[in-house]
Amino acid sequence: MVLFAIFCPILAAILIMVGAPARKTALAAAILTFAAALILLASFGHGQGNFQHVTSFTISPEWRLRFTTGIDGLSLVMVLLATIVTLAAVWFAGTIERYENSFYACLLFISGAAIGAFASIDLFFFYAFHELALIPTFLLIGIWGSGNRVAAAWKITIYLAVGSFILLLGLILLYQSIPPGWRSFDIRALTVAASLGQIPADAQRPIYLLLLIGFGTLVSLFPFHTWAPEAYASAPAPAAMLHAGVLKKFGLYGLLRLAIPLLPEGARYWTTLLVVLLLGNIIYIGLVTIAQKRLDWMLGYSSVMHMGYIFLGIASAGILGVTGAALLMFAHGLSIALLFALAGELRRRTGTLVFDELGGLAKVMPFAGLAFGFGVFASIGLPGFANFAGELMIFFGAFKNGWEMGAFHTFQIATLLALWGVVISTVYMLRAYRKTFMGILSEQWKQLFDVGPALRVPVMLLVGALLCYGFFPQSFVRVVAPTVRTYLTASRR
């Protein structure tokens, strides 16, 4: 079932490239993959922290290459996220004027790569699947993008390639630092080795730093974030949805899956640095976002900003904070996908996303206004949406770290600043909403038509998922918390 989820999009992509009808095949593949994820969700056994649905094929015994896939609580929700966003992205793509087949093929490759990366238990394929997604992103932005698309495509690809390279360096050093008897690419074996203290503490520190920078670049951690806004602004909406919604989470997932369990000493050593950087994300990037004058740039910067919260949850190194981070990863993916989808629709109709040129659009596009409003309020953490539940857990988890009555230490100050970040995000999001959809409608936009009934389905899907986990976050926590608990207790030994 897991293999089906991984290879269905890839197979569909290949079929499209050889000539199958692009939109129909892509849609069918996306629906099937989503169904597969739902089946996995339903058949998941709660309460255990280990991997389920594991399949393994040996590719090369001498090089210890085994294609192993499986899911545990954390990867299950990531796979679910990937399938939902894929379905929404494919649905939103509509008809493409040029090279439609290649467009859909690229989308599906990205999707398959993301699912594969999340579901891999083998280190080699984990990295390889992520690399698979780089070139389709390049093509999508460079060929079908808008604005300064070619430069943006080059920037994102080379920047992420450099980040991946640093990551690779870190992974190689990690592998080398394990004594030969314990070496394996299988993540489970590595976790066992780490929990038995096989990775020496002073080796952990530089390796963790490399992994942090590598994964951090992939997630736009400050200061390695400047690829994100221009790329998302120039990308076509489905590509932005997939990248900001799903691919970015790969780096965070990698930190949670590899860096924390395997290198706990390294994580402890670099905590302060991580906290400083993530506050850069939240406060500094938050301020930059306020100054933006275009919707696409604002959304790009805002996605960078929200990564700071997830990093805070991860840095808190407690089950509460990390579970919150996982929930926020899921929720943010959905909400940013929704916002980018609607921004793309706006750009398609009005040709511009500059705030001063828009205004009052809710009168002619009520459904889009409502949906965008949902997206905006989800992003700023309104209760009822899953984002709030995630942020709440992150705040509580981070505040708890290093608590001492009567004094504010690193994490308490960090939580305070992060809370102020919520106010900052409210300012820019509401300002964007007000400038785009509220106020006086200018003459040139009076002829616009609203989002059609066909496109309302993916919107409702995204909003529905956000509301579902926002109202009942325990259903999410139940799935993820045992996994996180296993990791943290293993690393604490």
Binding site: L287, L392, P473
Partner: protein
């Protein structure tokens, strides 16, 4: 059934909001009907729960990680919350019915009623929540629905900006509130009110910590109840439809801050400093708002500032460590303020949306029912016996007299100002000659609007009497009752009213012009200036830094550097074959040297 009944109070309006949003948006009359039915069901359930004291509510876990964090969703059903539930759903029901008339011709009626139902859900959630997190959730939702309703006529710039201002200002208050909740959780290990209360008493000796904690929790009330310095959103919120101003910004949402303070009074009472701060902020708000109100010309703005002032009184009472007085005033204020706003709405709609009092006049003859009910509300507001406002305001004044003389002096002065501006409003609007055509041609409102007015007028009249109020609230105990306080209050009342009548009888324009008050102490200008020079400046600097230093500088620099090195190295390729061969040979010699002789 018993376990679910309290939940129905919450869930029926939520269900109504969902149904209207998803299905019945096109059929406006049906949407309105659904919403009204929902709130009536809520009201009936609230009354049932009020009557049967023994009902308990079911609970479920919202987030639970064993041993680390537990957030249940449960309802607290003590006398305070039952009373508030009845109050909120009752006043809400009255206003729903009034809205049927007021919003009859509005295009966005379905949207309005959906948001109104959602508001009922959220407000009742605040009142019934049994833990801090649940309270915070509904707190934020109330802010959200207020945003939607203030911005109901979103195609008007003023409304859109007002909605933004309201939400952002209350969010700033929520920032402090959340920080306070985090500190409470760390100090006591729980978020449930029932568990925090006993544990807080063990935390003695950390006085600075407790003060900070209390003040942070108070921050939430400062934002939501529009106390100084976060009061600037409430007057602008008058851009929303008048029933909304009545419901949200007079009777319920702004009262939520006071309710919260009463619910967690034990936190604030743990620190004397905090109590003092709370009391003074309430007092400052009360007097400042009253001063501003004396110079305003929009009927809704005057009432808005009056709300601010009365909220200041309630907060003052909390700061003087009497929850009973605060709740009593909240209770009576809900009735007479809602009444005043609805009556104002009746005037506004019958005068075709004219809101400037200097365009009104002589309406006592043209809108008689509105006139009488407004008079009742006004008299209650200024604290004239035997109306309800007299009893509750008197309780607070007595408290201040007893515990803090400076505050008493200011509060008395505020009572004088209250009488002044209310009678000013009353005289200008209802007496004299009509000053404009719309005033001349106005008629009384239809029954669907006047009946709610009459209902509220009854409550405003009789709500203060002990025999009525005692069933709902613990009344403030008056120790050593002197006749001095009520006497002083009545004197202030008479002086204020007299002055207003003397100044404003038969005038065509305002004889008094105090620019400072008219411009609301320049708070809006100050805040704009502040935001411009901090947030906007920082934002522009950061954006510049990001675009040109980090991006063009570092990232662009490394890419340009790579290009540069490549360009340099390219110069080696001169195209001269023999040159290449020479370098080749040189390289071989070097290799041989290193291989053989090293």
């Amino acid at each position: 059934m018993n376990f679910m009944l309290p939940w129905f109070i919450l869930l029926v309006p939520l269900f109504s909001a969902a149904v209207i949003t998803l299905f019945t948006r096109r059929w406006k009359a049906l949407s309105s009907a659904i919403s009204v039915v929902a709130v009536l069901v809520s009201f009936i359930c609230s009354c049932l729960i009020f009557a049967h004291q023994s009902i308990r509510a079911a609970e479920f876990t919202w987030i639970g990680i064993d041993g680390v964090f537990q957030v249940p969703f449960g309802l607290t059903l003590d006398q305070l919350s039952r009373t508030m539930a009845v109050l909120v759903s009752g006043v809400g029901a009255v206003i729903h019915i009034y809205s049927l008339g007021y919003m009859r011709d509005d295009e966005g009626r379905s949207r309005y009623f959906a948001a109104l139902s959602l508001f009922m859900f959220a407000m009742l959630g605040i009142v019934l929540a049994n833990n801090f997190v649940m309270l915070f959730i509904f707190w934020e939702l109330v802010g959200f629905t207020s945003y939607v309703l203030i911005g109901h006529w979103f195609y008007r710039d003023a409304a859109a900006d007002a909605a933004n201002k309201a939400f952002i200002t209350t969010r700033i208050g929520d920032f402090g509130f959340m920080l306070g909740i985090l500190m409470v959780w760390m100090a006591t290990g729980s978020v449930l009110f029932a568990e925090i209360t006993p544990r807080m008493s063990t935390l003695t000796g950390h006085s600075i910590f407790l003060t900070v904690l209390a003040l942070l929790v108070f921050c939430g009330a400062v934002g939501k109840s529009a106390q100084f310095p976060l009061h600037v959103w409430l007057p602008d919120a008058m851009e929303g439809p008048t029933p909304i101003s009545a419901l949200i910004h007079a009777a319920t949402m702004v009262a939520a801050g006071v309710y919260m303070l009463v619910r967690v009074a034990f936190i604030i009472q743990a620190s004397q400093t905090a109590l003092l701060v709370v009391a003074w902020i309430g007092t400052i708000t009360a007097v400042m708002a009253a001063l501003i109100a004396t110079q305003q010309n929009d009927i809704k703005r005057i009432l808005a500032y009056s709300t601010l002032s009365q909220l200041g009184y309630m907060v003052m009472a909390v700061g003087l460590a009497s929850n009973e007085a605060a709740m009593f005033h909240l209770f009576t204020h809900a009735f007479f303020k809602a009444l005043l706003f609805l009556a104002a709405g009746s005037i506004i709609v019958m005068l075709h949306h004219e809101q400037n009092i200097w365009s009104m006049g002589g309406l006592s003859r043209r809108l008689p029912i509105t006139f009488v009910t407004f008079a009742v509300g006004a008299l209650a507001l200024i604290g004239c016996p035997p109306f309800s406002g007299f009893f509750s305001k008197d309780a607070i004044l007595a408290l201040a007299y007893e515990r803090n003389a400076p505050i008493f002096a200011v509060a008395l002065f505020t009572a004088f100002l209250t009488a002044f501006y209310v009678i000013r409003l009353f005289v200008i609007v209802f007496f004299g000659n009509p000053r404009s055509d719309v005033a001349r041609e106005s008629r009384e409102s239809p029954p669907v609007m006047t009946v709610p007015l009459i209902v509220l007028a009854f409550l405003a009249t009789f709500g203060g009497f002990a025999f009525f109020a005692r069933n709902f609230l613990p009344l403030p105990v008056e120790k050593g009752v002197t006749i001095l306080v009520p006497a002083l209050a009545i004197v202030a009342l008479i002086v204020g009213s007299g002055l207003a009548i003397a100044l404003y009888r038969n005038r065509a324009a305002d004889p008094v012009n105090i620019e400072l008050l008219r411009r609301k102490f320049y708070f809006d200008e100050f805040y704009s200036w502040l935001i411009n020079w901090t947030q906007e400046l920082l934002a522009r600097v950061s954006a510049f830094l990001d675009r040109w230093i980090i991006d063009a500088g570092a990232v662009g620099g490394s890419s340009r550097g790579t290009w540069g090195v490549g360009a340099l190295l390219r110069l080696v390729q001169v195209g001269n074959l023999q040159g290449y061969a020479f370098l080749f040979g040189l390289g071989v010699i070097v290799l041989i040297y290193f291989a053989v002789f090293r």
